[in-house]
């Protein structure tokens, strides 16, 4: 590909950005052109989000210059950036949930007159949607949309405002494989129409498939910028980490791990029902059991009850019917505290909303599960020294890149937040682990580390319910895989030798023949 003949869309030169002692970006040169998909990769905390936030006008750089469409600019706000055609889809969406798609698109746009001209906008959105494979109903309220659809709204909103340079921060982290494939097609289509797409991702296969060029950041600096066609996983990984990572070069043909003698059932669900946020049934009678030393994967297209399943088990959502038993004792509709005390660890789907406190420091986040007990607590007091030691150890053991335990959690990069949460939940000796997308947004090296943690817990005898949209992850970690469709278990198949094709059919709600029948679990009193 002859990139140099395309006109440069973005030219960032010598960009520097410090947060206190942290140099998030240092002397970064970044050039992307119209008509290309440009991937930005790097370990957690390498400075990807920061660099793109500078481009999108959210942060001001301490050093360096920025040119958009060949013209030097200084951005003071995201609004100015969008005025110059630069729009960003953040890791957290910025939509107003009760509003419709069209209203969200109109929000913040300056149109003459006091009326919302939703009619015209709806038409325009339909056209844009058709053209780029971003179909959503412009009249649907945002809260009724799936995560993938909300993301499409974010992209449509930027397109509608005339953005020509689209930045997507880990867009596929929240998507199912099917949705991710759709997004890739959309991005290629946009690039073919002359848009410039900047794409952040930790999934190297995906990066190689979608990008024309890849720029690699390491510790705030650019360590390479290569054509995707001339690169591979191995060389990208080496650039990112600065050394060879044995495990991730070739995906080790994850041999089905040696069977651990499974014990008593730790988690038993019988006819479990629950309602979703919108009050519609989300779980329609789930029967499932997880034994000690066993990992049961839950596969399914997002929005088929996964989130509600995890929340109902851990006490965050009311069960409207059926039973949950943990360690043989009834735990239906117990408080989250009681369930946690029964030895249940929970990696929630939305970590910043449920599992972490953005406004507190890392130490405060680290002790969330243990502040009540010695050695962190003595009587009614929290022992500052013990807290410090515990937090420092957690940060160190799990490679959380941060200036120190006094750092505010909200300033950590997304992946480092996740590492802290994982480390906290998987420390100790939980009896049952409910993990939802445990490696979402985490870099390749850390993904390996988290998988190792989960394997170690399984060998120790923990029962694990692993909810993930990443089939590879499920196949690598689970003993059995239950497929969820519209709040029901469509089937449970052994992971060893499971056929992805057949899993895909089950996920689509097709009851493939020859699949082991749904196992009914008899629960006394259920």
């Amino acid at each position: 590909m002859i990139h140099d003949e395309r006109s440069p869309a973005i030219e960032m030169r010598g960009i520097g950005k410090r947060f206190g002692a942290t140099a998030a970006n240092a002397d970064v040169d970044f050039v992307a052109r119209f008509g290309e998909v440009h991937a930005l990769v790097g370990e957690n905390g390498a400075g990807k989000s920061t660099l793109m936030s500078i481009l999108a006008g959210l942060y001001r750089p301490d050093a360096g210059t920025l040119a958009i469409g060949g013209r030097p600019v200084r951005l003071r706000s995201p609004r100015e950036a969008i005025g110059l055609g630069v729009g960003m889809v953040y890791q957290h969406f910025m939509l107003v949930e009760p509003f419709t798609v069209a209203e969200n698109v109109l929000l913040g746009q300056e149109r003459a007159g006091p009326w919302l001209e939703t009619g015209a906008v709806e038409r325009e959105l339909r056209e844009l949607g058709e053209r780029y494979g971003l179909a959503v109903d412009p009249r649907a309220p945002v809260w009724t949309l799936s995560v993938g659809e909300q993301q499409r709204v974010e992209i449509l909103r930027l397109l509608h405002r005339g953005a020509k340079i689209l930045i997507l921060d880990e867009p596929t982290a929240v998507l199912t494989p099917q949705e991710a494939a759709g997004l890739v097609r959309t991005l290629r289509g946009l690039a073919a129409d002359g848009f410039c797409i900047v794409f952040i991702s930790h999934k190297l296969d995906e990066v190689l498939a979608v990008a024309d060029r890849v720029t690699v950041l390491r510790r705030g600096r650019v360590v390479g910028s290569v054509a995707a066609a001339e690169s591979d996983r191995r060389s990208l990984a080496r650039l990112m980490v600065g050394r060879e990572l044995a495990s991730l070069v070739e995906r080790p043909a994850e041999e089905p791990h040696e069977a651990v003698a499974t014990g008593e059932p730790v988690l038993e669900l019988a006819g479990l029902r629950a309602e979703g946020d919108a009050g519609r049934p989300a779980l329609a009678g789930i029967d499932l059991a997880v034994r000690a030393g066993e990992t049961v994967g839950v596969a399914g297209v997002a929005g088929n009850g996964q989130r509600e399943l995890a929340e109902t088990i851990t006490g965050l959502r009311r069960a409207s019917g059926g039973r949950v038993r943990i360690g043989g004792a009834d735990a239906t509709n117990r408080s989250p505290g009681e369930i946690a005390r029964a030895g249940v660890a929970h990696v929630p789907e939305d970590r910043l909303a449920d599992g972490l406190i953005g406004g507190m420091d890392l130490a405060g986040n680290a002790i969330l599960r243990r502040y009540r007990r010695p050695p962190l607590a003595r009587g009614p007091f929290v022992v500052a020294r013990a807290v410090a030691a515990f937090a420092d150890r957690l940060l160190k053991e799990h490679g959380v890149a941060a200036p120190g335990r006094r750092t505010r959690l909200g300033t950590l990069s997304g992946g480092n937040q996740q590492k802290l949460l994982l480390g906290r939940e998987l420390a100790g000796e939980p009896r049952l682990i409910v993990a939802v997308h445990p490696t979402r947004g985490v870099d390749v090296g850390a993904t390996e580390a988290i998988h190792a943690l989960l394997r170690a817990q399984r060998e120790r005898g923990a029962a694990t319910l692993l909810i993930s949209e990443d089939l590879d992850e499920l196949l690598a970690l689970a003993d059995r895989i239950a497929v969820l469709f519209e709040g029901r278990v469509m089937g449970i198949v052994p992971a060893a030798g499971a056929d992805p094709e057949r899993l895909g059919l089950l996920m689509a709600g097709v009851d493939g023949g020859g699949v082991a029948p749904v196992r009914r679990v008899a629960v006394a009193g259920g």
Partner: protein, 377 residues
């Protein structure tokens, strides 16, 4: 101001408010200073318009509040209720419980303490009497705080409304008492309870009116600081304030903590009422508080909900109040001038606080342009 490269003509010039990504430490420190300077400048214009020399007025204010032993003592006297109610409000605010009911809780504390001193144990020796009134003040305020707390914890009722409404109930209840059942028969019809026994007077500092309540306030600030920082309970309050969902996830007892925080909040405000009663008024009377419970909200915010900050701000606001009040006597200014000055200063202080987090941007909005040189589809 940073200039944007060549904004072309289509944008409308206007002023807009932008969020500052990360307020700098320097800005946080400078803003109060600049705010006060601006407040003085703005009030200066008003004073000039009223035919007064602003410099002279300010000098008189400063002298009145801090210039001599008496003024300084009066400032400390006013610091006491502001400090106690400020702390009370801040505890609740830390958990994002918007207790606007400090005024009512103050009154209830005073009523309970007065009842104790007048009718329950009037003959007791001083330590017992004061101790009894102290407990009564704490309990009275706590009970008044618990009402909106319980409504919130069990019914989800908005505590802003309920706590505010209870202020009127408390104030009117106190009016009823001093006009009716508790009225001093020897007062020739003036509303007000009989004077408390002398043993109930809080010890004073020398010949000034500064009383033991100051110690209550400082001890309360220190205890609160320690509790919030060093105890499990303080940690729970912090987590619930910062992310209630994470608190639920961690199995923290949300309801119980709401009740406890509202009780503590009310108790501190009740203590303010008790110390005003036993330290200053010595009888339950009308207008026990000129709105300390409302000023407390400002004290808590400006002190950034931090006990140390609240001590400082309470003192500062007390100085502004005392300095303003002295103007009337020292310079013969119209009575309306002092509150106007006080209001202006507060206005700028609060506005400056907002500007640490937001900034105004002048200039044209950037017109929608197409950097790629292509028309939009």
């Amino acid at each position: 101001m940073v200039e944007l490269a060549a904004p072309s003509g289509r944008g409308r010039p206007r002023i807009r408010v932008e969020r500052v990504a990360a307020p700098s430490r320097l800005a946080s420190a400078l803003v109060p200073v600049v705010s006060i300077a601006l407040a003085l400048a703005a009030s200066g214009v008003l004073l000039l318009a009223a035919g007064e020399n602003p410099i002279a007025v300010y000098r008189a204010m400063l002298r009145g509040a801090l210039g001599d032993r008496n003024g300084f003592a009066e400032t400390l006297v006013k610091t006491i209720p502001l400090l106690l109610t400020g702390l009370g409000v801040a505890v609740a605010f830390r958990m994002r419980l918007w207790n606007i009911g400090a005024e009512g809780q103050l009154y209830l504390g005073a009523i309970a303490a007065a009842g104790t001193g007048l009718y329950l144990v009037p003959g007791a020796p001083a330590p017992l009497l004061i101790g009894g009134m102290l407990v009564a003040g704490l309990v009275g305020g706590a009970a008044w705080g618990l009402i909106p707390g319980a409504l919130r914890a069990f019914l989800g009722a908005n505590e802003i409304i309920t706590s505010l409404m209870l202020n009127y109930v408390a104030i009117l209840f106190s009016e009823y008492l001093v006009h009716g059942p508790w009225r001093d028969p020897s007062s020739f019809g003036f509303p007000g309870s009989p004077a408390l026994p002398e043993a109930a007077d809080l010890p004073r500092w020398g010949t000034t009116r500064v009383h033991l309540g100051l110690l209550f306030g400082l001890v309360a600030a220190a205890l609160l600081w320690g509790t919030l920082r060093r105890t499990r309970w303080g940690y729970e309050v912090g987590v619930m304030g910062a992310n209630p969902r994470a608190a639920r996830y961690a199995g923290m007892p949300t309801r119980r903590t709401i009740l406890a925080v509202m009780a503590l909040s009310g108790a501190l405000c009740g203590l303010a009422g008790m110390s005003e009663l036993a330290g200053i008024g010595h009888q339950l009377q009308r207008n026990l508080s000129p709105g300390y419970g409302y000023t407390a909200i400002i004290v808590a915010w400006l002190g950034r909900l931090h006990p140390g900050g609240i001590v400082l701000v309470a003192f500062l606001l007390a100085a502004i109040l005392v300095g303003g009040d002295q103007l009337q006597s020292s310079m013969g200014l119209p009575a309306a001038i002092a509150p106007m000055l006080q209001g202006t200063i507060l206005f700028f202080l609060l506005g400056g606080e907002a500007l640490v987090r937001y900034r105004l941007a002048w200039g044209a909005t950037v017109p929608s342009r197409d950097p790629g040189g292509r028309e939009r589809a």
